[in-house]
């Protein structure tokens, strides 16, 4: 594969950083080179948060992403901030629960995911990020479902083990939405 550069953005508390880390970890399992770089400003819960993730079969130079190949947008302010950077024909996964569709670009491949709604149906708003992640994994075709599930198992251990099932369901729901 050639280099894949991703920016994931939303507000603090949506699990944006975790999404990036899960992808990077999955890439490591698949033997790829990968970097994850957070914006580590004073943002906390409620503020905006974003991270850059890069995957490649070759060593990666800059972990800083200026022109992403794919963009995962979890809220409207993030759309305004990052949409313009997405390369022409790139993949834009948007959380339509929190993003106004009329503002979307028309020269990119758009994957609309009603992530919050789907998460509520599954039982917890917090897994909206996993719905988004599933949609991206399906749309990009870079990772196998198995790699991600392996990462989930590594992440959700101990007290968090009870979260494994719900997160997996949300992830699968996202994959399904992107397949439509």
């Amino acid at each position: 594969m050639t280099e894949e550069k991703v920016i994931i953005a939303g507000f603090g508390g949506q699990g944006v950083m975790l999404m990036g880390q899960l992808l990077a970890q999955a890439a490591t399992h698949e033997g790829m080179h990968t970097t994850w770089f957070p914006s580590y400003g004073p943002e906390t819960r409620g503020g905006t948060a974003n991270c850059s993730v890069v995957f490649d079969n070759h060593p990666i130079n800059s972990p800083v992403v200026s022109v992403p190949d794919s963009l995962l947008i979890l809220n409207h302010p993030s759309l305004a901030k990052f949409q313009g950077k997405l390369k022409e024909g790139g993949v834009l996964v948007v959380n339509t629960s929190l993003v106004e569709e009329k503002d979307l670009r028309d020269d990119v491949r758009i994957i609309k995911v009603d992530a919050n709604q789907k998460a509520l149906e599954i039982g917890n708003l917090k897994v909206a990020n996993m719905v988004m992640l599933g949609a991206y994994v399906k749309a990009s075709g870079i990772f196998s479902r198995e790699s991600l599930l392996k990462v989930f198992k590594e992440r959700f251990t101990g007290e968090k083990q009870k979260l494994l099932e719900m997160n997996t369901r949300a992830f699968d729901a996202g994959m399904e939405l992107a397949a439509d």
Binding site: A24, T28, H33, T34, W36, F37, Y40, N61, P63, S66
Partner: protein, 357 residues
């Protein structure tokens, strides 16, 4: 364990444990907090020492105490915190107590900002404390290199009885990347340090003292000359660098750390477009790798320094260059991380001007 995905600060902390670090003393400051956080848990699990000091000043003096008592010691901080530590660093160097210091650089001067920067170059390479002294200082470009260098740095510190500084910027500290922690051997347990004030005076029948005070100027000069002889040996033996695509280069980038990663991207893109561009990447900031500048091909006409500080390293390039090549500088500072496109544009402008001339 093969490759694992780790955050820079955590990977460096774990590498220190594997390098045989007995004790850590530190004080929180962004963007290096994951180092003490990680160590507070893992040093305890390894039955080693972790202390959160009341200040950077106290932390470095704890390092001085524990290092003096013969332990392998680590501290970490970021630029303004490193500035505070200079008092103790000067004492460590002056009394030849080994230790490892990780500096995850951020923008300055003063409180500056918390974004990545390389503006500590002078503070690292010119000392920052009082007196004639140097720190062996490594500037890794990626996390694997950081892990490898940190493991080795404890041996280097002991071998030279000198503090070693690992200089990275906030970007390397905060980013995640897979690393192979077993690639370099873990440090083995060491022999007792004969010079240490480890409280074995009774058994030895002779007490050790660790001091940096020499009131007779002739004695102090003698001490300084002995230190210089040590620094000369470092210059002779410890220069490390990478030369990338310099064989037929017309323009050579000089860049280290994160900036070198970004410059590497620019070199690759420029090469694809047919531009003859290469790079010299200092891995040791001190000693500055003068050897990298020897025997450059005749095709070279310009050296372009790229750094996240306003020409601090460029001064060393000037010294090494001795008027041989055209010199140029492209610098960002204050926490702004340059993008490869900026380097590419600058390189093209230089090469175009050369063609026209």
């Amino acid at each position: 364990m093969s490759r694992v995905l780790m955050k820079g600060n955590e990977a460096m902390a774990l590498a220190a444990i594997k390098g045989g670090c007995d004790a850590f003393f530190g004080y929180p400051i962004t963007p290096q907090n994951e180092i003490p956080e990680y160590l507070s848990e893992h040093m305890a699990k390894e039955d080693r020492v972790f202390v959160q000091a009341e200040s950077e000043v106290a932390a470095i003096n704890m390092v001085y105490g524990a290092g003096g008592a013969g332990a392998r010691v680590l501290t970490s901080s970021s630029s303004p915190g490193i500035a505070l530590k200079q008092e103790g660093i000067s004492y460590l160097a002056g009394s030849e107590v080994p230790c490892v210091i990780i500096n995850v650089m951020r923008g300055g001067p003063g409180l500056g900002g918390i974004q990545p920067s390389q503006a500590d170059y002078n503070q690292i390479t010119r000392g920052g404390g009082n007196g004639d002294y140097h720190l062996l200082s490594y500037a890794p470009e990626n996390l694997q290199e950081a892990v490898d260098l940190i493991k080795q740095s404890f041996d280097k510190a002991d071998a030279y009885r000198n503090p070693v500084m690992i200089a990275v910027d906030g970007l390397l500290g905060q980013m995640m990347e897979p690393v192979d922690l077993e690639r370099t051997p873990d440090s083995k347990q060491r022999e007792r340090k004969e010079w240490a004030t480890d409280g074995d005076a009774g058994r030895r029948g002779k007490a050790n003292t660790i001091v940096s005070l020499h009131l007779d100027p002739n004695k102090l000069e003698e001490h300084n000359l002995a230190l210089k002889e040590k620094y000369d040996r470092m210059v002779e033996n410890e220069q490390r660098y990478e030369r990338l695509e310099t064989e037929d280069a017309e323009l050579v980038f000089i860049a280290y750390g994160s900036t070198a990663r970004i410059a590497r991207s620019a070199v690759e893109s420029l090469r694809e477009e047919g531009y003859k561009v290469g790079m010299i990447r200092p891995i040791t900031l001190w000693p500055f790798p003068e050897n990298a500048f020897k025997k450059l091909p005749d095709t070279v006409h310009t050296l372009l320094t790229l750094e996240m500080s306003l020409g601090q390293m460029h001064q060393d390039v000037k010294i090494v260059n001795q008027g041989r090549y055209h010199l140029d500088l492209y610098a960002r500072t204050g926490g702004v991380v340059p993008e490869p496109e900026e380097f590419i544009e600058k390189a093209k402008a230089i090469l175009k001007k050369e063609d026209a001339a």
